[in-house]
Symmetry: C2
Subunit: 678 residues, 2 copies
């Protein structure tokens, strides 16, 4: 190699190459395709391009780095160090020049496309590549002899200094342009959003001089019951603040179909619901900005995931068509909107809003987000992903094919329509065990780590009391009752005589099982009634039947792995879920909770624009099965009514839990079954 060349090796990427002596490190990084950040464009202002040179012997790379491998500190670096401080051993990549063979480490914070590790152990990391980035530019001053507009000169500067050939700008940001340019003495920082698909980058905001602030995005999981949002730092993907509120549409109807009915029966009802949810979203954004102590204009993007009804109500589209076959969506593709489209005023008025695609009229953008987070289309094994909620959404497949459906489980899994049911809140029973011999229960309530039969329990729960059973608690209760021989395979509760405990209380022709009597303290009597069992049976049958239909579609009888998604899914005990036959039989260790996978999917789409194109392609490839018109759904539903199942074998389950072969009161069974199923 020529003598005026030097070898440079970048770590951790390992990328290496020869560059002309005197080349700034940042420029060398660009030449070699090394991911090294810069906002100010080689001006020594932003310090995003900090690097750590290594000196001495590097046998691994076969190179010896001399002390003078990089140029001496120049005035720009010295001033930066004096004013802002550079960490020991660091240099500014745009100022330090390569004078000899050198090994350069790019610390994590200097990488644009840094990987963000997710909490879930086996989840792939998110690679940072947000749509919106900052660019510092020096704009030519106006010249009467070449009378172009300020915007045109800003565009020329971006083309010249950042190789961005064209941008678009909303009218309202033009109002800020002239004052910002003059205040910054023709130096400004602009935020540009690289829109989805083939649109030009869009001018989101402009600040005089070098902007020190950070950019944030909102990841929103807009559920029927709750709206959860994370404020995400777009530089490193970290969550700066999180918040959740009840969906204010609850006042129009607890579940989705009652909201659709509200829209059908009240002219303008959909408009009212649209306003309510947009206001809630705006309030949430405001709270998050306040919590993170940032200015609303710093929130430059949002990604929203939701089910189809919420999707239409958020967009201002009457959801009436989603309430009846053929459940036609007005629009199914992903949407690129802007803050004013959704009347959001607590974020940047030019903020882009990305809404993931819907899969079908009952399988929404939330399910698409789950797919983005869980990647069934890349799975080697056959995975069933269940997003448990009022309407369960199911994905089944592997890298060959993915199928999806929704199943009308109803709200029983959330504690609704259960005699002692309640939302998951302090005081609610969430865990329960029943002694198979004595039939005595022990339990734990939310907000307390002590079991009810342990010392100190009474004191510990004094503040909350014992108020009811939440969704995960009722699943455990039914499963434990089945495992303890209190309930038979058909779902019938035995009498005190049949079961042998006074906890069995006759109620007309059926029985209930008393878990806790708080009435001496003025609290409720908490028990599981025959009606509760029937409600759970209906819900779990629907869920299982949906899964079974998908398995039919793929021609399989077993799955390798079950992922429970949804906030509620995170609290379900896999063993108990399987014991009631809520999910197909599978090795217990292969039932995994993915937490709020929809919310995670939203965060991924926020941090990485490529993920948006990816999920759009994936959704196009997902085959949808419509449970409402599948003739086999009813058959699967009926068979799934038993605990755990009338016909499917549950070998993994049988190996780990006893399922006593009891049978109670045939007559009453038929009666109850018929009454409930109607």
């Amino acid at each position: 190699m020529a003598d005026d060349d030097a070898l440079v090796i970048f770590t951790p990427s390992g990328k290496r190459g020869r560059v002309a002596r005197g080349t700034p490190v940042l420029q060398a990084a660009r030449q070699l395709g090394v991911d090294l950040d810069s906002v100010c464009g080689m001006r020594g202002i932003c310090s995003k391009c900090q690097i750590t040179p290594g000196y001495g012997e590097f046998p691994k790379h076969g190179v010896h780095v001399k002390p003078d491998a990089l140029s001496e500190w120049n005035a720009v670096e010295e001033r930066y160090d004096r004013v802002r401080g550079l960490k020991e051993g660091r240099r500014l990549g745009c100022q330090a020049r390569i004078m000899g063979d050198v090994v350069i480490d790019v610390p994590r914070e200097s990488q644009v496309h840094k990987q963000v590790v997710r909490k879930e152990a086996d989840a792939r990391p998110i690679v940072m590549d947000p749509a919106t980035r900052l660019y510092y530019v020096e704009v030519a001053e106006p010249d009467m002899h070449v009378p172009t507009g300020d915007l045109e000169r800003l565009k020329a500067a971006l083309k010249d200094q950042w190789e961005i050939p064209e941008i678009s700008a909303n009218l309202d940001v033009l109002r800020q342009l002239q004052p910002a340019l003059r205040k910054g003495e023709w130096k400004v920082t602009v935020a540009l959003s690289q829109g989805n698909h083939d649109a030009h980058p869009r001018l989101i905001d402009i600040w005089p001089g070098f902007y020190e602030g950070r950019l944030y995005g909102l990841a929103v999981d807009l559920g029927s019951t709750t709206i959860a949002a994370h404020l995400v730092d777009l530089r490193n993907g970290s969550v700066a603040a999180s918040a959740g509120v009840m969906n204010p549409q609850i006042r129009f109807g607890e579940d989705l179909m009652s909201r659709v009915s509200y829209a059908m029966m009240n002219p303008g009802g959909d408009v009212e619901m649209t306003r309510a949810v947009r206001e809630a979203l705006d309030g949430l954004a405001e709270d998050l900005a306040e919590a993170a102590k940032i200015e609303p204009p710093q929130i430059v993007e949002a990604v929203i995931v939701c089910n189809p009804v919420m999707h239409h109500l958020l967009l201002g589209i009457d959801p009436v068509e989603l309430g009846q076959a053929p459940f036609a969506l007005a629009v199914s593709s992903a949407l690129d909107l802007q803050a004013p489209d959704l009347q959001l005023s607590a974020i940047n008025p030019r903020a882009g809003i990305y809404i993931l695609p819907c899969i079908a009229g009952h399988v929404g953008a939330d399910c698409a987000a789950v797919a983005l987070a869980e990647q069934p289309q890349k799975s080697e094994d056959m995975v069933l992903i269940v997003d448990v909620g009022t309407n369960a959404e199911l994905l089944l497949g592997n890298k060959e094919k993915v199928v999806a459906c929704s199943s009308p489980t109803g709200p029983a899994f959330e504690g609704a329509q259960i005699s002692s049911g309640q939302r998951a809140a302090p005081g609610a029973i969430e865990r329960i065990e029943i002694d198979p011999v004595t039939k005595e229960p022990r339990f734990r309530v939310i907000g307390c780590d002590i079991w009810s039969d342990q010392p100190g329990f009474q004191e510990a729960i004094a503040g909350t009391g014992i108020t009811g059973i939440c969704g995960s608690g009722i699943i455990e209760a039914v499963a434990e009752m089945r495992m303890a021989g209190i309930v038979d395979a058909k779902g019938l509760i035995g009498s005190a005589a049949q079961v042998g405990t006074p906890r069995m209380v006759a109620q007309g022709r059926t029985h209930s099982y008393l878990i806790h009597d708080a009435s001496p303290d003025g609290g409720p009597i908490i028990s599981v009634t025959q009606g509760d069992i029937r409600a759970i049976q209906l819900a779990k049958s629907a869920l299982y039947a949906g899964a079974r239909l998908l398995m039919d579609e793929l021609g399989i009888d077993t799955v390798d792995r079950v992922v429970l998604a949804g906030a509620f899914g995170a609290h379900i005990s896999p063993k108990h879920a399987m014991a009631i036959g809520m999910i197909p039989d599978v090795a217990l260790e292969n039932v995994i909770s993915a937490g709020n996978a929809a919310g995670t999917g939203a965060r991924i789409a926020l941090c990485n624009t490529e993920a948006r194109s990816e999920i759009e392609a994936v959704v196009r490839g997902i085959h949808k099965v419509e449970t409402a018109i599948e003739p086999r759904f009813q058959e699967h539903f009926v068979n799934a009514n038993a605990l755990p199942h009338a016909t499917d074998p549950f070998p993994h389950l049988n190996a780990i839990v006893p399922l006593p072969d009891v049978s109670f009161n045939i007559g009453s069974d038929r009666e109850g079954g018929r009454r409930r199923r109607r």
Copy 2:
């Protein structure tokens, strides 16, 4: 040729070719590139594809057309004729099939790209090619097994039936999509706007079934004083209604610079002015829709032209930078906006709004529109185009090069700052002649065709009276005074003794010329004062100096042709304008009035999208001369102060009018000149 082919000749295009027998005429037209309209896509609904077959001998084309050259009427044609009626001899091009050699005439109304003849004799016609068109489509019904959204199926139909690969849709139109599709039983008519540049066509509106209505556009000339708008039928370019209102910003300042000052001195003043002009525009649109008896959503486009200050105030950009050197525009390029951007609610909420590019900080989109209408860049001879107004905008050039400038003429040409001046309105003197012997004037007032010395004048003007002199009147008055020897070359008015008429009235050290004394009837005394002469001298000197600077730029001393644009320009007498040296000397027949050329330019850009790209390119090529910083401007200005000019010869003028070599009162001249020039 094969026997199953037939020769088809289309007139008036003359396009000819062979097509398979049985080919529908519309399809044949498409194959041969013949301009034949269709909205319904071969369904016999829209009747836009009507054609007239010719039968018998056509020696010119060398073809004999047999009576059975076209297929028999089919059921669709018969039904259309029964229900709606087809003109004698017409057929539906989508139904009639070519069975033998035939000559087919495409009537004008069946051509998409029909030419619209402009009023001006020598102007090139406008070729209709508006951005927004209607498309009738049949959309697939939703299918639960292929759960795409209604929008996606509409897109598929447009791709399939109209070869439109992709469209974009604003969120708000999606709300209309589902009801329209169902009401129209999956047949709808959509309006698509083919945006400027490389954007996808945008969904403007949707109607159930076949939409019978027409689409309209607004062509707006937004002036400092008046806002004029035409409602144009986008099918044939005809003007359905016209209206004008005063610019409500007048209350913030008569001229542009006083409005800029208002914005500078009153925080929020620009916002107030922006609101005022947008409201006025909206009201104008509402009036026009009412006048033409159409619904506001039928107005699917607007094109706006205006000067730079109005441009910024309309866009909501503070115009303060335009009030001081270097007169930097915030944005100079053409803009593609939408109705809500300008808070226009009286037109379609998705209507596209195109604003022509500005040439420079003082040379606006109105001047670009003049260039579009007058095409100096295609001129064989050297043409000077003057848009006369408060701020005159000038274009000079030919097909080699075009230069532009603005010149601060002030409002004198509009009758302001003139002692008896007034706006052009009934009662204002607009024409005047002075007898060179008796020095007696005769005149005509606006609203009356009779000269003041003709019988019946008094009766004819009884309703209006004689109220003042308008802009064109004052030019004639000054010119006639010069030609009658009442004013000398330096602009001094002679005394009664010097001129020899008692109409000369002493006013301090100067004199005025009495035109009409209406005071016996309680009206004003109308005269031309020394101050009026000075005001006109200042205005015309500025205009001439601007033209001279442009001539310097091109290195020429004479021009071939002068075009007077602007509504005011239409009323100026070329002879009188030249007599005062307002425009360069040129053969009188080569001074042409272009009427409201800016408004015409707006109409062209509305009717023909190609014209938008064209003017954007032309504007980029126009070289701008900034009068404010050109050292020679002052010299040209001073020399142009004389009537007609101190140094430039006016041979054409001298050949047609006498310019008496009089000279009055040297001392007073200096005094008056100094006082006024300060």
